[in-house]
Amino acid sequence: MFLRGETTMKKLMLGNEAIARGVYEAGATVATAYPGTPSTEITENIAKYDEIYSEWAPNEKVALEVAIGASVAGARAVCAMKHVGLNVAADPLFTASYTGVNGGLVLFVADDPGMHSSQNEQDTRIMARGAKVPVLEPSDSSECKEFAKAAFRISEEFDTPVIVRLTTRVAHSQGIVELSDKEDYRIKPYVKDPVKYVMMPAMARKRHLAVEERMARLREYADNSPINRIEWGDKKIGVITSGISYQYSREAFGDVSYLKLGMVHPLPEKLIREFAGQVETLYVIEELEPFIENQCLKMGLKVIGKELLPVTGEYSAALIREKVLGKSFEKLNNLEDTAPPRPPVLCAGCPHRGTYYVLKKLRLTVTGDIGCYTLGALAPLESLDTCVCMGAGIGMAHGMEKALGKEKSRKTVAVIGDSTFIHSGITGLIDMVYNKGTGTVIILDNSITGMTGHQHHPATGFTIRGEPTKQVDLVKLCQAVGVERVRVCDPFDLEGFEKAVKEEIEADEPSVIIARRSCALLKGVKFGPILSIDSEKCTRCRMCMRLGCPAIVDRSDHIEINPTQCVGCELCARVCRFGAIGKAGDSNE
C-alpha cells in the first residue's frame, strides 16, 4: 500500500504549481505576471525553474505585452493574472487575437467565484468570447499540467493566444500530478511580417477575417478533440459541465452521464447535440455566468441550469444536491450557531494601522484602493470610503474635487499601496497634476506587495528571484510628474504624520505623502519585546481599542494584550495617555 522508499514521479501539487510544471514541460522560456489572488503562485513556481525567464511586471497590461513580444520572437511565452487583471490586459489581448502568435502564447487567468479575495466575480469566459480566443478549463491539478501543455499546441496550430481559465478551488487545491520530461521546444525563427503583426486598419481587416476562419476551425477541433469527453453512465440524467463544477457534479449526481468539457470556448456543438440526444434530462452545471447554458439554449436544446442554481458565489456538491436534487442537509447536532464572524484584519504591527488611526481621527473622506489596506474599511478603523479597482483611489479623489470644488473636497485624501501605485496609480497622479487638481495622495509604502503574499515590485529594488535591480524612487517619480509637495513620513509617528496630513490637505496644490514603514510580516522587521497593560494605570479610556489591533482585547472588567498575538510594535503605547502600556515581563513568553 505504501510507496515509501520507491522513487515516484507523482507529486502533490497546487493547481497553480501544476500549471508552472506544465509550462516547464512545454519548453516555454518567458513568463510574466502581476501578482493577484488566486493566480500568484503560478509565476512564483515558474520562477523556480532556471530554464524559464520570469518577471513581475508593473501591471497585467505590460506583462501581456512582454509575453506577446516573446511569442512573436518565437518563444513559448506565458502570462498569468487574476480575472480582474484581464481587464487591465484586455487591450493587448483583443488585438493579439488578431495578430496571432509565432511561439505559443498562453494566458492563465484565475477567476474567483465567491470572491475569497477579489472585488467582483466576473467570468473570464465572457472576456474570451469578446476577444475571440479559445479557453481551456482544467478541473484538477493533473489537468492543470496537461491543459497548460495542450494550450501551447493549440496556440501554435491555430495561430491564436489561448486562455487557460482557473477558479480559486482549482488554483488553490493540491492534487496528484504525474511528472513528465521537458519537451525539446526550439525557438521558432522570427520572420518580419507586417501584414500579421502591424495592426493598422488595412492589415487588421484581413486579420479579422483570419480570426473568424480560425474560430470556425476551432469549433471543429472542439467537436473532435479528446479534451472534451463523454462519460456515459445512467442516461436518465445528463450533465454538461467543466472545471471544478465537474468535480462537484460527480459527487452530487454520482453515476449519471457527463459531458465533461475541457475546452469551454468555442463549444463543441455537435458533441453537445449528440450527448443531449441520448439523455432524458439535461443539466448544465457551471459557476458564475450561464455561458454553456446560453449556447445550449441558442441551439434549441432543453437544459436546466440557472433556473435552479445561482449566478453568484461558489458551488459545492451540497449546493447541487440541495438545489437540483432537493436533498438538503440535516444538522447532526443541537449546537446553536452562535459563532461570531471572524473577518480578516490588519495584522498586529501593520504599518497601515497608524495611517488609518490618523485619517479616522481627522474625519477625512478616503478614496481607497486594492491591497491589505482595503481592510481599513472594517470596524473599528472604518476609514475607507471607496474601493473600486487597482489605482482607482487617486482618480476618484480628483473626480470628487472636480465635482464639489476645492473647499468642499478639502477633507478628501486618496490612499494607495506602493505596488498598486506602480501598477496604475501613477497615471491617476499625472491626471491630477496635469488637470490642476489639488488633492492629497498617501502612498502606503510597506515596501512589498502585501496581500498576495510578499512579491517584489519595481519600487522594492529586487526582482522576482530576489536579485538586486534598479529601484524606482517614489519621491523622485512623484516630483517628476510635477508634484512639488512630496514628503516621507513614518505612519507610526502619529503626531508627525497627523501634522503632515493636515498641512497637505490645506495646500492648494497636489501633494503626496509617502507613509513608509515595512510590512510587519517581512523578514528582518524586528520589534521590541511584547507588551502588557498595567491594570493599575489603565483607566479603561479605550483609546488603544480604537486601533483595532487583534492583540488588544476588552475583557469587560479590564483590557489586556494577548501575548500570543502581540508583536511588540508599540503603537498602542503611543496612543495611551496614561503610560499604562509597557514591556511585558518574561513571564509572558
Binding site: 502533490l12 447532526l332 471572524r342 470596524a379 487583534p550 500570543t564
Partner: protein, 197 residues
Amino acid sequence: MNNTNIMIVGVGGQGTLLASRILGDAALNTGLDVKVSEVHGMSQRGGSVVTYVKMGKKVHSPVVEKGEADIILCFEKLEALRWIDYAKKDARIIINDQRIDPMPVIIGKARYPDSIIEKIKAEYPNTVDVPALNMARECGSIKAVNVVLVGVMARHSEIPEEVWLNAIEKNVKPQFIELNKKAFNAGYDYAVCLAGK
C-alpha cells in the same frame, strides 16, 4: 464513498497551511488519491481559515461538505464551533484549547461563546482538547502549535509515524526540523497518553 475527510480550521496566521501540507504529503504516501484545498489571500490576514484534506480511492471535489468530516483539527476554540456542523456524528474532533478573539468580540459588538469545548464534547464523544500552546512553548516556540496538533492527529490516523516525520522534514526549513519533530512527538505522546486513560 469511503473517502477519509479531514478539515483543519483556525485563524489566518496560525500555521494551518503548513499543517495541511504535512498532512497532504503523509497522505500521498498511502498510495491513495489525495486532494487538499487551501486558502490564500485576504482571509489569511487573521480571518477564519479552513483547509480540506480528502483521501480515498478516487477523490473528486476537494471540498468537504457539512456532515462529512471524519476528523476536524481545530486550531482555535471558536473556529471549532464555527465548523462543527461539518463533522460526522462519530468524528474525531481535536481542539486546541486556545482563544483568539475576533474583531467583533474585541470591539464589543459580539460575545465569545462560553464553554465551547464542553458543549462540543456533549455532542461529539470523540472530542479531545489539547493545551497545544503550552506544549509548543515547552518545545521551544509557540509557533510550533500547528505541528503539536498534527502530532495529536497523527496518533489517530492509520499512517505510520515515520511517514509523518518524513513529511515534516520535507515541509519545514532545515533549521526548524528538530523543533518541529519535538513538537510532533509532544502531540503524538499526548494522544497516546489520552488513549491510555
